[in-house]
Symmetry: C3
Subunit: 170 residues, 3 copies
Amino acid sequence: MFFLRRIFEDLDNALAHDPAGRNRLEVALAYPGVHAVWGHRISHFLWNRHLKLVARIHSNFIRSATGVEIHPGAKIGRRFFIDHGMGVVIGATAVIGDDVMIYHDVTLGARGGDVGKRHPTIHNDVVIGAGARVLGNVTVGEGSRISANAVISKDLPARSLLSSAENFVI
Amino acid sequence: MFFLRRIFEDLDNALAHDPAGRNRLEVALAYPGVHAVWGHRISHFLWNRHLKLVARIHSNFIRSATGVEIHPGAKIGRRFFIDHGMGVVIGATAVIGDDVMIYHDVTLGARGGDVGKRHPTIHNDVVIGAGARVLGNVTVGEGSRISANAVISKDLPARSLLSSAENFVI
Amino acid sequence: MFFLRRIFEDLDNALAHDPAGRNRLEVALAYPGVHAVWGHRISHFLWNRHLKLVARIHSNFIRSATGVEIHPGAKIGRRFFIDHGMGVVIGATAVIGDDVMIYHDVTLGARGGDVGKRHPTIHNDVVIGAGARVLGNVTVGEGSRISANAVISKDLPARSLLSSAENFVI
């Protein structure tokens, strides 16, 4: 029952975010971003049970089915919505809060040479536009909006509005 | 016969645009951007016959086969050519004229919160470079050239030349 | 034996570049960027034996399996590593040296209207970040670093550091 309630929460959340969505059945059958999040829950479960190789093979299968690559180690909150999804990359040490929405082609990645916690932490209620790259162990504060194609590699305070293709780098 | 003539028109158009193309057979077998446009014609036909769920499932299947996501509701003119294609997203209320060419990773998308006609209108003879994002119910005038990674969210007059990663936003 | 040694060289090279990689078996099974390079070696072999249509169909199959599109004509050196890979496009006349690393969504493409050698030449030890576009018959000098979402369409001298979303165009 718990499992089913989460499924419905995800379907309703996708409908709330996407004006092109028409009903739960359509979301369940035709939203690869939703399928990718469901797939990640399984990969992440396997990863935490020390079935790491199986987890990576599974997440790679989800990537070929959906175009979304989420490392099984990434920690993701509730009602995470990926719209369209093709090209999304989320790294092993990324942490994502609740009610976050990202568009296709968003990268939550590392910078070359970083070790340990090397991917971003995204707080609640953040929206990240298509093609934006958030790189390194940086924090994006609650309620921030990052526009399409922006590049971020330092901390963003809460409720930041980063306009399109603006750069916020060290 | 009409159907066949359109197929040949698309094959010849791809050859005219891509200097790496060698003959019609190669285009028919190895150009996912061409396959995506053919798939969209079927999705759009189904959508207009009120088979909306079938249309979305079909367009999602075309997305996984080609990497190109075109909402079945989008209206697209003749000789539309998508080069490479991976990552292209075209929204439900987008309108595209004749002889338009786009590269991979182009987004014709909406801005969060918009409703109704919320995707771009692209006039004839426009070329849009890889990774460019055109967002919202804006018009791109005839003969415009938008370069790679540019972000557009207001109207562009005819014959605009928008250089690489330039932004043209409100 | 020669063939096997190259396979191991690629596996070890991926492990050296990616701190999330754990062992050779994981790389061999779950790294689409590595699979794409192996696929390209076969496509390129076929292309050079004048089996051009077969080569293009093969490279298109590799594209659908990995999300990486490399034209069979492209010349690629040793220890080339593509991280993540989705959305990468490498054109027919591109030339890539040894020890080059690129991230997902990188384009080594042409500009409309160019003919002949119309794609970039990338020298040894170059790193190119996610979403960067290198366009036209330009040279990127040895040891250069190009950051995410940058757009390049003229020659870069050796050891250039091009910061994120900077543009270096004519």
